[in-house]
Symmetry: C3
Subunit: 269 residues, 3 copies
């Protein structure tokens, strides 16, 4: 007898957009198998085929969702090839995704508990297309998990997951480090890969640090977006726990002409 | 005593966008009547007033949703005129929409079981505006159906539904046919009206077929998106069962400058 | 014992967009506290930092949602400063939002029943960031309300809410009034602040009124969008109860080059 979760939550993160029927078809498939599943859209606006873009968003989810949440993530340029579909458990939550590195950010900050391939024919649709495994493989597998199927019943346990190199901050000189911008959000805020502990490692006894991006000096770390005057740039620790560069009531992306990959220097002030 | 569905599913497909309050007002109306209804957004990004665009998306849904699903579809340039609002049952699912041809794709591939007008004053809001029947007529009708009301209690049975001409592939010469592009998706993939059986009809004994769009030769049908090198175009059978033209890791819409209506030729190779 | 609502509904209105993880994190926080909560997206496309834009959408919701609905509204350029987070009850529904005037439209048309600050540490996350109170303060407060916590237990009762000046129509000459455009929707329809009763006040004994926007004469009020020929502008009473200017099968925003703030004159014909 499977151990069915009450109100199982299934989240969806894809690069499908919402203009087409693709996401809806996945939801329909889920509801046919798991009528009580609660389906939540995370985003469908991952840039098409941008695996690291999807990996970043996925990496931000695990800290905030309840145990037993199932996250389907579909950025899948290799659909229909030999790339595997995998299910991996982190902190009691399960990620179902193509094995193309999309778990890389989550994997960096959370401990994988178990992983397996999604190969059991009983958890796929009876006909599997070559072009839409989100609907034909991942959605039904998630729905079966939501209905209480054990992870290991999805396929074969595996101890290998494809992990992409995710940039980490590195020391530069004395009491300084260099990180980079890994995501730009809707407001044009630049999110870096520099965490609280990275910043703490630069600061002696809580002294202030100064921040620069692409050679532009932003002064000391601030506390809130409102600590700059309108139109001015500032650096602060963002809500996801990473150093972030913003423009008060404006867009840092536009003002600083910055892109993903821009270098960020933090040094003791 | 109405035969209430457990967890009734109501989907929404509109040209309203999500920037305004319109979709939310429909959801609020549904929840006032059917507090247990599960409301799923299909898309609200149908091009404004594009009835065939909405019809295409609706036509892709029926194969994937559970029995008793109710699909509200609002692309309604004639709102407030004499055009009817109808409820039509196909394969155990019910479509509630303006009677302007938006069921045309669904009607081509599925059997209508019953249809009626939505005219019963008891299933409308007490005040019906001239500009927003999605909220005032279709949402409450769907919610009453979800609560177990019978289709025939929505209004009068009708044996006429407005059906628009939907292009079908036609033979051209020996072992060749001409179809056309009917939808372009978020990836820039070109979806045609040429189904598996159409392709099978061109191929003798499973021989390969070759595809051309707007006079550009795409070579034989491939199996997966990854069967072309990055930036190259290919044709394959897409996940919706129709011949589709894609560019590996790119946009066929951009590379081929193609639009809805572009001619697609399939011939024996 | 708290008085838990069955199927509590929590709606979300933000300027976060849907490309990032922010909205999903709020949903995860809600579900950890209130697993049965029904979370509905209203819109996440409020223009960044546009408080009046969010206020307009919020003002359209209260008439359509069930009692006990909780509306979280996050357009919060002052996050992390001394601006308060408040919970205000209108018509049995509760708004949780920064106290920056975002309730201004709702406040104009509905009676506030009670309001309090959201300051109780037990209804916040254990760590509150300076940059994301939607996730750390408003989402958990809403979830606790959904679980049956009383409004007054969120913090301290308050009899002051920040209210922004919302333009109201004013008389100009005899049997004429001047209002303005307060919102432009996805279709390019121009929504004014002129309500049914404002129009009735101009018309003697139900006589027709004529409308002009930015000096362009639109003729008498029409009944439906279809009362103009394709491409022509018209004025009519929109589904939200306000005078609206539209272009048949087109965009009034484009045709009339109109913007929020454009003056609208209604006079007896």
């Amino acid at each position: 007898m499977p151990n069915k979760t009450k109100n199982p939550v299934i989240t969806l993160t894809t690069d499908f957009g919402l203009q087409d029927h693709y996401v809806a078809c996945m939801k329909g498939v889920i509801l046919q198998i798991a009528p009580d599943a609660r389906i939540l859209d995370v985003t469908h606006e991952i840039e098409p085929h941008n695996i690291l873009g999807g990996a970043f968003v996925l990496g931000q989810l695990l800290d905030w969702f309840p145990p037993d949440t199932i996250h389907i993530v579909v950025v899948d340029p290799g659909v229909g090839t030999s790339r595997r579909v995998i299910a991996a458990r982190y902190d009691g939550q399960t990620i179902i995704a193509p094995d193309n590195g999309i778990v890389s950010f989550a994997h960096q900050t959370h401990q994988v508990e178990a992983a397996c391939t999604v190969t059991n024919p009983r958890v796929r649709l009876s006909t599997v297309s070559n072009t839409f495994h989100g609907r034909d493989v991942m959605a039904p597998a998630a729905a079966h998990l939501a209905m209480g199927l054990a992870l290991v019943d999805l396929g074969q346990l595996t101890d290998h997951l494809e992990i992409l190199a995710v940039a980490r901050p590195k020391p530069v000189g004395v009491r300084a480090l260099e990180g980079e911008i890994v995501h730009i959000d809707r407001f044009g805020n630049l999110l870096s890969n520099i965490g609280r502990q990275d910043v703490a490692g630069v600061s002696t006894g809580g002294r202030q640090v100064a921040v620069a991006v692409d050679g532009v000096d932003l002064g000391p770390l601030q506390q809130t977006y409102a600590d700059a005057t309108a139109g001015d740039a500032l650096a602060l620790m963002g809500g996801s726990g990473f150093l972030e560069i913003a423009v008060r009531l404006g867009s840092a992306r536009e003002k600083l002409s910055a892109a993903v990959g821009a270098k960020v220097i933090v040094r003791e002030n």
